[in-house]
Subunit: 249 residues, 2 copies
Amino acid sequence: MTYCVGLLVEEGLVMVADTRTNAGLDDISTYRKLHHFNVPGERVMMLASAGNLSVTQSVLSLLAEGVSGEDGEPPLKITETTTMFQAAQLIGKAIRRVRVIEKAGFEAANLRFSISLLFGGQIGNEPMRLFLIYSAGNFIECSTDAPFLQIGEHKYGKPILDRAVKFETDLYDALKVSLVSMDSTMRSNLGVGLPIDIAVARRNALDLEVSHRIEAGESYFHDLRERWSAALRAAHRAIPRPPYGPAAR
Amino acid sequence: MTYCVGLLVEEGLVMVADTRTNAGLDDISTYRKLHHFNVPGERVMMLASAGNLSVTQSVLSLLAEGVSGEDGEPPLKITETTTMFQAAQLIGKAIRRVRVIEKAGFEAANLRFSISLLFGGQIGNEPMRLFLIYSAGNFIECSTDAPFLQIGEHKYGKPILDRAVKFETDLYDALKVSLVSMDSTMRSNLGVGLPIDIAVARRNALDLEVSHRIEAGESYFHDLRERWSAALRAAHRAIPRPPYGPAAR
């Protein structure tokens, strides 16, 4: 299982991803799911992946080596695209390419071809954008009304995002809320686990401002988890007792 | 969609269920999903249902009219069972019965036979128990380690239960937390909606202490939602800023 969240707020872009992969509960490993294609001063791009690990790795390799055209165009690398929309299209093309290659083998093994990606960043003077790309290669874009997108095990961590994130939210508050969202997910689904990769890019900076791996035992994240738990307990204690029982009469 | 949660704590049993049913987004209705089989002084039983409405209604009718045996036993009504385990078995039998009746029609229409039930209560001096009954008719029982069970759209509302409910939790605190859990679910899934039915039975009282429908606009629930939202906002604001950005250096 996987949980990744991307937030595109006024000041910039945040992406947070766990690193746990599993082929059954008895075969758990750590793999990076948050990747960067970063050319400081020219472009900053982040890509977080969920789904079949072989598919996501093949897509990443294709994007680095160049995706050859479906109709004879020369191969294009993701770092050669000139807009984020073109780059999202290229990722879609890479997914369709891998599907063609893997189709027969996946069908023979009765495997589901599954991949979903969060892709965000900025190229030159183009706007900063954030996309969710599906396994068919189609994609949607993040809006200012709901300035976040999620992939993987998304439900446990959504209530806090729904409540706490607006387009105007401060960049590092957005990072904080996504860590709370990750914490809620990790508590409820063992398939999502530490370490956590985080990335932050400020709008128009064309570089990563933060690229960090939070390891188990790191004090800030440990403290955040404790504080959040304590705050939730205090929050529900502060709500008055329901007026339905006999003691309320 | 549906969300129902049952909590079996030291002092008793709480069940909370929404009432929204839909056959597509353009066909939404209100149906009771929380039912009682209550004989004061003798037994208290609550049953909450999720899944195909025709299946759950047929199961309920069978339980009231009597489920005839698979091997020639005389029909038994749920109010005639002598232990909660027998009653849960009877519900499983009713589900298998309905499946036999509906199988051909469901297959012809390519419909999935889906039902899941929360069933809790107490008969006489027997212990108070809470079960989750699956569509195969098998069931599991709630434990004191995790004193709640959920059916339907359960993920959004699970983090608060994981954190806030213990076996020792006060009965009306348990009700309050389940309303918070319901609120989180309603915010994230439009298929779960008001009114909400609630029921409370105190251990060894052999009667319902609360049986109430919370309608839209009811002030306590409105206030709970507002307070919870405000508390969550305050909670994440109170967590220190992540130490990863440049301003932290």
